[in-house]
Symmetry: C2
Subunit: 187 residues, 2 copies
Amino acid sequence: MPSLRYFVLGLLAQKSMSGYDIKCLSKSFSWLIGSPSTGSLYPILRALLEENLVTMEVVPGLGKPPRKIYSIAETGTQVLQAWIDQPLASDAPLKAFAMRLLLAGSVPPARLIAHLKQRRVQVAAHHAALIQAAGTHVEGMDLGQRLTLEYGLAMATAELGWLDTALNRLSAKPLPEKAVQSGTLTN
Amino acid sequence: MPSLRYFVLGLLAQKSMSGYDIKCLSKSFSWLIGSPSTGSLYPILRALLEENLVTMEVVPGLGKPPRKIYSIAETGTQVLQAWIDQPLASDAPLKAFAMRLLLAGSVPPARLIAHLKQRRVQVAAHHAALIQAAGTHVEGMDLGQRLTLEYGLAMATAELGWLDTALNRLSAKPLPEKAVQSGTLTN
DNA sequence: ACACTCATGTAAGCTGTTACATGATTAA
DNA sequence: TTAATCATGTAACAGCTTACATGAGTGT
């Protein structure tokens, strides 16, 4: 589960980059994923290099500090694939899913669709659990619990909606399952 | 930033409970918040007790193991308030917001509204940043980046929508007199 | 007989952050 | 000259998880 390690490896699979580049790129998605600190990023890069999962080339900067450009190696792609192939835990947080989503380019289309479908099942389960929680003990719930429940439902509904549209776009055939009403996510 | 510590304290502010109760309750919201492991929960409870932020009473179980019921102490409410009063960081993850939302019962209405407004501003900023990222370099983006961007936009839009409805509901009813006395509430 | 829920706790370890340290280049 | 961006790195530590350990009752 050292997810950052594989996340970095995955980014290098998309494109050869320096540690600094990785920081900048992940900052764009920091709301979902959070960007790694230098204290974790650089040691990870060195470890990946020592294990021969990546290669490194020093590119002297033109009026800038020299940059260490890392590229994924053959062993690295295999290790990455093995990591991506194992499904996410059912209680995986949004962050873990978003991390894998960002690596979609390294995933064969069929597997990508499988991942999204699996996520759909898990989010639907959490959605159902929240609805059930709302039904069983609404009486004894305080303001915080009620607000959080609503918030969770809104988020889950939105995610289900997005997953459905994304799946429709990515796959030619229509979904056999009943589509979720997505009126709540319009704005 | 030992958020779990204050989260536990906050739950005890809502209602006196045992460690086990806290685990069960937070499991209901585990998708958003994640439920603390025993390895963190029980040591936290002991620490809170030793610092006199909570009190403890052993209730012998009837045909069940005895339970240790923790209640918040006066010092605890003060410490909790001080923690809640400081605003969330602008890059605070969804999880951090949901944690505070669950403690809404301990927050005076005016402050709760201020928190939601502040969150709205931050989510709107991230939403705008994603849109801008989409505009500036759509060309050079791979599948993963495009999907993650869409996903982030869908989530941010949904959250903004929920925040707006929640704010409308919360600010509608309670204001017979002037509820606003400090300028920090407005945003 | 076996496994599960209720209920507590500890020890070792992993993952990641904070804060520091370096140094060159460019803009106010 | 002061600060900011680019670019790399380390050491100390915080925070949390995993896995283990205990034990009574309850269900199959």
